[in-house]
């Protein structure tokens, strides 16, 4: 299994060099969107490992996107504006995390969903010269909008999230997260600082999503409340992670590669309504493969080598 990560990285590095003729630009574009989806799903998963199902990734994505756009439009250097993305998302998530700390399961999910909707409405209703209202804003591109350059920047952003995910997986935090997920009370008895750990997971996840939001905006060149804060973004994030396999690093990435590619094909064929695929996949995975795609691999390798 050790070769899979480096091999995937090599493939990712080589994508812009693939001689696809007239489709060159399209391939790079799709690859960029795969990276964006994978990064959001992976960042969402970090927080999900504590057993809290957040339906607010769209809010943090949007906050990162708007922070970047609004700062950049006011003459803030683009690099600084970019860093504002994760910063703003992180700070807001700290506040949200503190007030929603005591909510469990379902209530937490609904509260985060409500929060995301409130943030969307706020950005829609703020004065036009501030947020552009329902129409949104045009975002200044990073790196002068150079497509290949932006792809590699996206790869960098994605790798930051991967590193964070792996770091959590291979540190003591992994045990803390898992213990909290399996029983908060037991975790507390075992000496896990539950409140602090949950907040850490929530803020880390939100800041990473905010960073992806800032990056995605510099690549898409615009922000619109309905899209940038859209529930579709949250749905995609959790469906991707669940499809690939939650609580892992490989799962959400694998999920993003498959689902986003599938989505691109369906978008060409159907033009609208292609999100139905996400719905069907979510249903089938919950019913028949709760561990996601990764669990198939683990099952096999366990048979062969006696461990995962």
């Amino acid at each position: 299994m050790r070769w899979v990560g480096p091999a995937a990285l090599c493939v990712a590095l080589l994508v812009p060099l693939v001689p696809a003729g007239g489709y060159q630009q399209y391939v790079v574009q799709v690859a960029t969107f795969v990276l964006i989806n994978a990064a959001v799903a992976l960042a969402w998963d970090i927080q999900a490992r504590t057993g809290q199902l957040s339906l607010a990734p769209a809010a943090f994505f949007g906050l990162g996107a708007y922070a970047y756009t609004m700062a950049a439009l006011r003459g803030v250097p683009l690099a600084v504006a970019f860093l504002l993305g994760p910063l703003v998302a992180g700070v807001v998530s700290l506040g949200l995390g503190i007030v929603t700390l005591r909510l469990q399961g379902l209530y937490f999910a609904i509260a985060t969903l409500a929060f995301a909707e409130v943030v969307k409405v706020i950005f829609k209703e703020l004065p036009l010269d501030l947020t552009g209202g329902a129409v949104g804003l045009t975002a200044p591109p990073l790196l002068g909008g150079h497509q290949t350059g932006l792809y590699y920047l996206g790869l960098g952003v994605f790798l930051v999230v991967v590193v964070a995910s792996l770091a959590v997986r291979h540190s003591r935090l992994h045990y803390a997260f898992t213990a909290i997920r399996q029983g908060e009370l037991t975790a507390r008895v075992l000496g896990v600082r539950v409140v602090r750990t949950k907040l850490l997971a929530f803020v880390l996840s939100a800041a990473l999503i905010g960073m992806v939001g800032a990056y995605a905006t510099s690549r898409l060149f615009f922000v619109i409340p309905e899209d940038t804060f859209g529930i579709g973004l949250s749905v995609t994030a959790l469906a991707t992670a669940i499809f690939g396999g939650v609580y892992t690093t490989a799962g959400p990435v694998l999920g993003a590669v498959i689902l986003r590619s599938l989505e691109e094909v369906l978008r060409l064929v159907l033009r609208e309504g292609y999100l139905a695929v996400y719905g069907v996949i979510l249903m089938l995975v919950i019913l028949y493969l709760p561990g996601g795609l990764v669990s198939l691999w683990n099952r096999r390798s366990r048979d062969v080598a006696g461990g995962d």
Partner: protein
């Protein structure tokens, strides 16, 4: 001044009827099956479209169509229950939530595929007429939806509190194992309850069709509001749903009327209320 106040109050009352109808189904599913049905809004959408097509193709009045709309969703939800919901009843509650989320997204996008995303409206004679009582003027169509909602809610309470089936449903809601021990077929009660809950959503959908119209994306807004209502009421508390519907519809109507540019802010009122109710409760009880 007073006239505007009374008019707003009347609008709120009518809106609360639809909200109560849509939320009661959700509250029923939560209270009895202990699942939060994220697809409830899409069930409402299905009801609206059934009524829409019956009106367009067969010329049936959407108010009459609430019967077939409810029946279609009752049957469809039976299939959905047997094929999926049933399997996650004993799994962690988030699985059920994600499953119904998936069902909702699928239905919504299938509707987009089949009918396109453009909203559709029906035209009936009574939609243009209004009843005027003193300073307050109320459209006949909204008035009919209010009457239907009140009748159906009263009917639901009568079934729940005055019949044997209702007693069984309440018994299962109270204690699944206990109900099973005294010989109730819990699975059948679940099936029936889920069917009734879904049919109520579809009927609410045909009411919404008369007043506003139908579109594939109509469900999500309603399910969020229904969540707000049942959360305010306390999950599974059916009587609370009536009060919460009234409170939220009133808050929404007054923001719409009295806050400048309040159309968008009215949306936020709901979500703010749901958010603060949840947070406040979690800190108070802890």
């Amino acid at each position: 001044m007073m006239d505007l106040f009374l008019q707003t109050l009347a609008n709120a009352l009518i809106q609360s009827g639809t909200y109560a109808l849509a939320s009661s189904g959700l509250a029923l599913a939560v209270g009895v099956l202990h699942i939060v049905n994220f697809a409830h809004g899409e069930f409402l959408m299905v009801g609206a479209f059934v009524a829409y097509w019956l009106s367009v193709l067969a010329g049936i009045d959407p108010i009459v169509s609430l019967v077939p709309a409810g029946a279609v969703m009752f049957a469809a939800s039976g299939v959905i229950y047997q094929a999926s919901i049933r399997r996650v009843l004993l799994a962690p509650e988030l699985n059920a939530l994600l499953l119904t989320f998936g069902i909702g997204i699928t239905l919504q996008n299938l509707a987009v595929l089949a009918f396109g995303a453009t909203p559709r409206v029906v035209h009936t004679a009574y939609q243009l007429t209004a009843v005027t009582v003193g300073p307050v003027s109320v459209g006949v169509a909204p008035l009919i939806t209010l009457v239907v909602s009140v009748t159906l809610l009263a009917g639901m309470y009568a079934v729940l509190y005055r019949t044997g089936v209702g007693k069984s449903i309440r018994a299962v809601a109270q204690n699944r194992t206990g109900a099973h021990l005294v010989g109730l077929d819990v699975d059948r009660i679940y099936l029936l309850t889920f069917g009734i809950a879904s049919a109520l959503a579809a009927i609410a959908g045909s009411m919404v069709l008369v007043r506003i119209g139908a579109s594939p994306h109509m469900g999500f807004g309603f399910v969020l509001k229904a969540f707000a209502i049942i959360v305010m009421a306390g999950l599974g508390n059916l009587t609370g749903v009536l009060w919460a519907s009234l409170v939220l519809a009133t808050a929404e109507a007054f923001v719409r009327t009295y806050v400048p540019g309040g159309g968008g802010a009215a949306e936020a009122v709901f979500f703010l209320l749901i958010f603060f109710t949840l947070v406040w409760r979690s800190w108070r009880t802890a």
